[in-house]
Structures are given as structure tokens and as C-alpha cells.
């Protein structure tokens, strides 16, 4: 009976790990006794298939043609293949096992078995009363670029609808609300930037070589995505009962009575840009008194909403 494919693939891996110098196809064939087909071309094809299968699994088979070699040779460098010196202790393995339980055993168990293969076995921890739902495999297509530090190229549509091609050194990935952002240095525009992955058009191209750039040490990827901090203001609103509740939930303080049975509520640290949508959301229940600039901005936005939703009106939304 022919040797099962998985056994041949495991053994080919071992043969290429154990050799000190590159082995040519003929040497491999002699040493292993594999690829016995009388037709050399079909034997060669079978070997090429095996080699590509192993590479697709992430096994780093190198091709080398040293001086004086007639044919290329193959080997696996142990330093590329082996994971050494992780040095996890039992508590850390237990903590990671819990993390894998919380977020998905199907995707997490095998990588954990690799990093914990030589670590002590822990006592299981009791699960915390916390659940998290995160689509872990969403960012797979960016993994080679981030982990191997390869430059990527992709077509991108900005928030205002313009499209163009970006060439980026990817530093990492950020999750914010329901969106993923690839953060890195845009080679055509200086400074780190964030790119929403759902605004990338088509497949991303991952370029050679690996280790193409250095990631800055003290970079805060979250700050790149959140944007610069805008000076915040204190806002005073006059609120009916429902507005009172919504403002209290956000830390607003009652500072006395307002007109028509309302209460005056002071909310500190409001970001006029990022909190504008929140202010609009509570605006039917709470009117801004000060500052004047925030009040004017809301009035203009509300005028647009009324015009847009007038009976028989247009539905031309504005940016």
C-alpha cells in the first residue's frame, strides 16, 4: 500500500530539518526512497506538489543553489521553523487557555498548543462572568503584512468618497465600534494614518520583502484612529424629565431650575465635534443654552433635518 500523504509530508519536513546542507531533488529521492515513479517528470511533479503544500502550511522550505551545485537544493532552517524561548509559566498558560475559551477554541487552540507546547500544564482557572464577541478571523488578510512587516498596496475610498491607491507600511490593526482599521505609514503622505478595512476596494496586495520597515516604538495606534484631541467645553442645557435622565446618565449635574418647568444641567468635557451627534440625539428633550457656538451649530443642523424631511421634500442628503 502506498504511504499515506500526511506521513510523507511529515517525513519530508523532518528530512529537510535534519540536513545541514541543501538537498537536491535527486538526493532527497535517494535518501527517503520517496517519489519512486519511473518517469522522472511525474516524480518531480509529485515532489513539487508536496513542497508547495508544506509551504502553504507555513513551513519555511528554502531553495538554495550554492556555488558548484548543479541543481537547486532544499532545506528548512531550524531558526525559521522553530518557536523557542516563549517561557510561559503555568499561570500564563491558564490565562491564555481562558482567553481562547472566551473568544473561540476552533481558531485559538492550535496556536496556543504551539506556544505552550513546552510550558508547564496549568490548573484550569474559573471563567470570569464576562463574555466577548469578536470576529477574530476578520483580520486574517492583514496578518502576513503585520507579522512579517511587509508593505501593502490597496485601493481605498475616503470618507468623502474619493478613491485612490495607497502604499502603506502596516504597523497594526485597531478595532473601533464595529470597524477594523489598518494603521500604518502611508508612503505617499507622511505620518501614521488609519484606513477603515471596509473602505478598501478589492484585494490587498502584500509586497516582498519581509522586514521591510521598522515599527516606531512608542506609537499609540488607537490615537491615530481616534484623531487628535479637540479642546472640550462645558455645556449647559435646559431639560425636561426625559432629557434630565439622558444627561444624568452621561454625568450631567443639575445646577438649578430653568424656564417652563425645565432643569438646568451642566455637562462637562463635551467634545464639540465628536459629541455633536449625541447632542443632536438628545436635542428634542434638552436645549443647549451655552456656549453660543454649540447652540448655533445645532440650530443649523436641525434646520437641515427639517428641510430634508418636509412633506414632499427632497431627499438630497448633504455632507
Amino acid at each position: 500500500m502506498a504511504m499515506p500523504v500526511v506521513e510523507r509530508l511529515v517525513n519530508l519536513t523532518i528530512a529537510l530539518l535534519e540536513t545541514r546542507r541543501p538537498l537536491t531533488f535527486d538526493e532527497l529521492r535517494r535518501r527517503t526512497g520517496y517519489y519512486p515513479q519511473p518517469d522522472p517528470a511525474s516524480a518531480r511533479r509529485m515532489f513539487e506538489r508536496d513542497k508547495e503544500s508544506l509551504r502553504a502550511l507555513g513551513i519555511p522550505i528554502e531553495t538554495r543553489q550554492d556555488f558548484g551545485m548543479e541543481d537547486p537544493g532544499y532545506l528548512i532552517d531550524r531558526r525559521s521553523y522553530e518557536l523557542r524561548d516563549v517561557d510561559l509559566d503555568g499561570d500564563e498558560v491558564a490565562a491564555l487557555a481562558l482567553a481562547v475559551d472566551m473568544l473561540g477554541r476552533e481558531v485559538g487552540a492550535l496556536p496556543l498548543a504551539k506556544v505552550a507546547a513546552r510550558a508547564p500544564d496549568p490548573l484550569p482557572l474559573e471563567a470570569p462572568p464576562t463574555r466577548i464577541d469578536l470576529p477574530v478571523t476578520d483580520v486574517d488578510s492583514f496578518a502576513p503584512a503585520i507579522v512579517e512587516r511587509r508593505v501593502v498596496r490597496f485601493a481605498y475610498r475616503t470618507a468623502d468618497g474619493r478613491t485612490g491607491v495607497r502604499t502603506v507600511e502596516p504597523y497594526g490593526i485597531v478595532r473601533r465600534r464595529r470597524a477594523w482599521y489598518l494603521v500604518g505609514r502611508d508612503r505617499d503622505r507622511e505620518g501614521p494614518r488609519g484606513f477603515r478595512t471596509d473602505r478598501m476596494l478589492g484585494a490587498i496586495e502584500v509586497l516582498d520583502p519581509p522586514s521591510a520597515f521598522v515599527v516606531p516604538d512608542d506609537l499609540d495606534l488607537g490615537a491615530v484612529v481616534s484623531g487628535p484631541d479637540v479642546p472640550t467645553v462645558d455645556v449647559v442645557l435646559e431639560a425636561g424629565p426625559e432629557g434630565h435622565w439622558a444627561l444624568s446618565a452621561r454625568g450631567g449635574v443639575d445646577v438649578g431650575p430653568g424656564p417652563d418647568g425645565t432643569r438646568r444641567i451642566r455637562v462637562e468635557g463635551v467634545d464639540p465635534v465628536r459629541d455633536r451627534a449625541w447632542l443632536l440625539g438628545v436635542s428634542p428633550d434638552a436645549g443647549v443654552r451655552e456656549p453660543e457656538g454649540v447652540r448655533d451649530g445645532l440650530r443649523a443642523a436641525l434646520d437641515r433635518v427639517v428641510a430634508l424631511h418636509a412633506p414632499g421634500g427632497t431627499t438630497a442628503v448633504v455632507a
Binding site: 490565562a95 428634542p284 437641515r304 433635518v305
Partner: protein
Amino acid sequence: MRADRPQPDVVRMLTLVPWLLERPGASLEETAAAFATDVATVRAELEHLDFCGLPGLGGGDLFDVTIMGDHVTVRMADELRYPMRPTPHEALRLLLIATAAEQVAGPDVPALASALTKLHRALGVTPGAVTLLDAEPGDDVRVARGAIAAGVRVRFSYRGRQDREPAVRTVEPWAVELSEGTWYLHGFDLGAADGRVFRLDRASGLEVTDERSTTAAPEDLRSPVYEPGPDDLEVELRLAPTAHWLIDAVRPDHVEEEADGTLRVTLRTGSPEWLARLVLMAGGGAGVVRPDALRERVRSRAQEALDRLS
């Protein structure tokens, strides 16, 4: 080939060897559990591994795999004493998993922080390369977790999607959950006499009581994600690029992009008031195409707001 026949996996086999070299006499069950597979698959892979080793004429130097009862020992396999490096996919997934768990449950599982430091170093990835915003538990999450640990009820004022006014709820807390950037509380609602899921950002004044919780959590907690119902309103919106964020707040059935970057979105909702507020929040960047009743609701909310500013 039968569909349920064990499928041996080369990478798992290459990982089983170093794992088992460190754990002589491990049981097949614990091995299968550690690799998230079943005993039959592990057994099949071990049987293959017994024919593996350094190939050569005369059979080569083969591994010695012994299965005695339910226990397995691997010897003579020094060629594979170290595991294979995680692939980039595996590395990023594992960092994502550990980072997310550390952020949501860090204080309960302190070893996660040091494990993450070691993982970043071993995998050659800069710390911070995986960043999750909005995942930091706030005070309300910490208070709820404290109540779960102590086995006591919590009380808070809550305004659900459909509620015009908030009401006080007393809840026996079961678990907190972070889903799509929002924290939820699962628990037994004494008022409704049933299990409920609450969005913690719609709760105010969450406090721990000294009343004992008496209802155990069910095996499976419901997902907090909104499922459209048959009585829901069908809505069509147009969103300018500045209002595209609104897509993240709803579950669209269909999204179509127009030439100028405007999105035409259809969705269903059981809470028109909530949706009207969302449209209001876009300040003119979002418009309701249909139904007319929702257009009127948005217009009258905006008019009420303008009256308050006059």
C-alpha cells in the same frame, strides 16, 4: 470516503510531537481537548506518527509512539523537540484573543498581561500592534461584575429602545458581555420575571443591593444582537459619506452605493423612535426616503428641538 472519517492534519501532527514529548503518558482526551479536536482524530494522527521520523533506507529512524489504554507516550522524536512557529494568521489571531481577553477581564486574570508581553516578544510583533478601542470596561461593568461575584441583585434606571421614559429595574446579574463595542448585562429581571439583556449605556445609577440572587443562569445566554421581528417597519435611508457611521449602528438588510458616494440603505426596525433619533444625530447627513410616517417623526423631533433653542 466517509464524511466522518478523521482527517489527519500535518501541522497538528508536527505540533503533537513536541507537546507530547513534554507530557509523557498524557491521556487521549486531554490531548484532543488541548488541540480542539476529537479523540478519534488524535488517535489516527498518532498512528500515522508511529510511521514517521527521519526517513531512510531500511526504514530510517522512526518515532516510538505507544498508546496504552487511554494514555500515549512519544519517544525517539528529538528531531521535533520544538514546535513549529505559529503562522502569521495564527500569531495575529492569538494576539487578538489575548488582547481582547486582557482588556475585558484583565483584573480577574492578572497573568494575561505578562503572557501578552511574552507572546509579543516570541512572535516578533510590536506591543500595541493589536489595539481594541471601546473595550475598556467602565464603572458600571465593574459594579455589575462585583455583584455577580457576591451573588447579589443590582438596581438601575433603564430606558430600552422602545421606552419613552426610563424605569427602575431590579436584576439578578448573570454575566456582562462586550458585543460590537457595547457592554451588555445578562440577568434575571424581577419585574418581567424572565431573563433579559440590558445595554449598560442605557442604564443609569447602577447600584449593588444586599438582596441575594436566587435564579441561576441558563446554560446558554441569548445573544444581545437585535433580531428583526415580523412586525418591524421597513425603512429606506440615504446616507451622505459623513453619515456612513450610521450603518454601524443598525443592521442593514441591503446597502447600495450611488455614484457620488451616497449610500442607499434598507433595514427593518421595531423601534421607530430610536431610528428617528439616529437620523437626527446625523444632522442632515441622513434622510429617510420611506415610510412617510418616519419622515414625519424625524421632522417633528427636529422641530421640537428647534423650539427648545428659540
